[in-house]
């Protein structure tokens, strides 16, 4: 029983961390129709920055600094690598995203020397707490609540502010919203800023609970978060969050199965199997809108 609770707890927490990344994917895809392959690597870079900043600065300065730097990184990536290709075919933008991902990973390898880096202990978050007879870290308890609060704020932003209205308009139709006087480029930048900020928060939560960061540490959570976004219906924030929690829980359950079955190697594969099944039977996802082709 205690084992079940601890598996579930860590599943929900991993799911929450995926949710924060998945929102970045789903927002960007909703507007640009681009799988931002570099998003997972932005997440990884945020983790590395957390390590380097906390080494020299107190935690109260370094964490906001990580947030700011990640936001700047996301903004710069969009301006440098995606904006010039706005009118290019979708495949070119995706290739550019893969190129950015390659660049970030290689730069991270260069900076860290390829060594796995351990994330610093963050006071309070890293300290342990007993829940229903199991020992766990505070971060595991806090993550789902923090995620829900952030998602609530985000939905408020999207549904009740001018920027949010502009974002919804741009995701429907580029050209028309430009005619309505919306600055499409700044709306896209705002999207990347929100996505990167959430990824930075996610990285603090995720890596506090993880032994080490390697330059490729972002790729797999990134892909899983993307699957979560597809599962929930791409473009839909609640969908992405639900998908992410589901994937996080299933993944930890698979990892937690008896080791004699030896199925933990499939924890990543499961996510992709889920993706293929979803794409075959319900390609628009749980809450997505079905798109029709115009001839």
């Amino acid at each position: 029983m205690e084992y079940v609770i601890s598996v579930l707890l860590s599943g929900i927490s991993v799911g929450g961390q995926y949710a924060l990344i998945a929102i970045g994917y789903t927002l960007v895809y909703g507007i640009l129709r681009l799988i931002n392959f570099a998003h997972g690597d932005v997440f990884m870079v945020a983790g590395l920055m957390g390590i380097y900043f906390t080494a020299t600065m107190p935690i109260t300065v370094s964490i906001p600094l990580v947030l700011i730097m990640t936001v700047i990184l996301g903004f710069v990536i969009e301006r440098a690598a995606y904006k010039p290709l706005r009118s290019a075919p979708r495949m070119s933008v995706m290739i550019s995203a893969i190129g950015v991902s390659y660049l970030l990973q290689n730069t991270a390898t260069y900076v860290t020397g390829g060594q796995p880096m351990t994330y610093p202990e963050i006071p309070f978050l890293s300290s342990t707490v007993g829940v229903a007879g199991t020992q766990t870290k505070w971060v595991v308890i806090i993550t789902p609540f923090l995620v829900l609060a952030l998602v609530y704020l985000l939905t408020l932003l999207i549904n009740h502010t001018k920027v949010g209205m502009a974002m919804r308009a741009v995701s429907k139709d580029f050209a028309t919203s430009r005619l309505m006087g919306i600055r499409v480029n700044s709306v896209i930048s705002v999207t990347f800023i929100i996505g990167s900020a959430l990824a930075a928060v996610g990285s603090v939560l995720y890596f506090t609970n993880y032994p080490a960061i390697t330059p490729t540490a972002g790729a797999m959570p990134g892909l899983k978060a993307f699957v979560a976004a597809v599962f929930g219906g791409i473009g839909s924030i609640p969908g992405a969050v639900i998908g992410a929690f589901l994937i996080g829980i299933c993944e930890t359950i698979i990892k937690g199965l008896p080791s004699s079955w030896d199925v933990s190697v499939f924890s990543d594969a499961f996510t992709f199997a889920l993706l293929i099944i979803i794409l075959i039977f319900k390609p628009q996802g749980l809450f997505g809108e079905a798109a029709t082709d115009k001839v």
Binding site: M91, G99, Y102, G113, V227, V265, F272, A273, I276, L279
Partner: protein, 376 residues
Amino acid sequence: MLENLSAFIPNLPQVFQPTSPLFTVLKKAAVYSLVAVSMNLLNGFTGLFSLGQAGFMLLGAYTYAILMVPASQKEQVYYLFGGCAFDFSLPDAFAAIFGEGGAGGAVGMILSCLIALILAGCVAGFFAYLIGIPVLRLKSDYLAIATLGFAEILRAIFQWQKLGPVTNGANMIKGFTTFSSFNITNASGATLLRLSTFVPFLVSSVCILLIVLLINSSYGRAFKSIRDDEIAAEAMGINLFKHKMMSFVISSFFAGVGGALFAMYVANAQAKAFTSVMTYEILLIVVIGGIGSVSGSVLATFLYVACSEWWLRFLDSEQYIGAFKVPLLRNGFRMVIFSIVIMVIVLFFSQGIMGDKEINLGALIGKIRAKRERKQ
């Protein structure tokens, strides 16, 4: 062929010695160029954005490796699992027919290798067919992510300890015929004729030639019309699904052969190597060469491999110009420069080296001749 020069010309520059990085580059580039061209067939000529190449290479590599480990080696390779569950091995089967050693042994080795390569392609093609039935109905980026996911699933399955007696779990399979097995040695073990670079070139060239023939056939024209406009192609009576499937299976077949060649090149097969990073690498090669150009892909592969394995190596270690220590140079810097160059190509030269044109020697000679005549 070049490798053998050193045997005949005594004072050859270091570059042409058999140990030179030149030959590593040539071997690896020959292997990669086949995979790049197979990816180009799919991405550049049919317009299907697939990221499953590493998965099909993995299938090819493992098929080849499992078939080619001789029975005498199996105990040692599969020591963790107490021998291999799969008793058959092609080299042994052919050794039984042609005898070991001498000319019969050579014929046996060539035939077994050839058959294993073809089977490697067939297995990859078969899996492509299975996965293609659901996946090929998806639109561009969903297709990309689904094929990427499929490759990751395959990698997990091949690392599964339960399949250890066949796939050797997460450990590598080795002990099979590699490129250096084709070097002809005399009785005392001294190398008489080095063919280890020639073999990958031969196999790759034949495969690329087949792909070019396919592209220039009526099927190839159908592929291109699907790429340019699916709806128009369908209206012209092209069966979309059939042709997409054909392109997907053929591309995966050659990716499988490429994977088997890759296993021969690194002399082992291990699922860990075939990650999505490998697919990205090949995709970037295709982009550098020009999407939709076979000769561009081949050219780009040789440039890419030569740069990453040889010419840019100096960036990874400290260098001095006179007494000045060049800043920033240390391990990993090569790849940073490399990825910046790739980003510049992707952003500003999206056509790549060749665009969608091919190197056409005949036209080139014609042009030079015309110029000369004008001068006279």
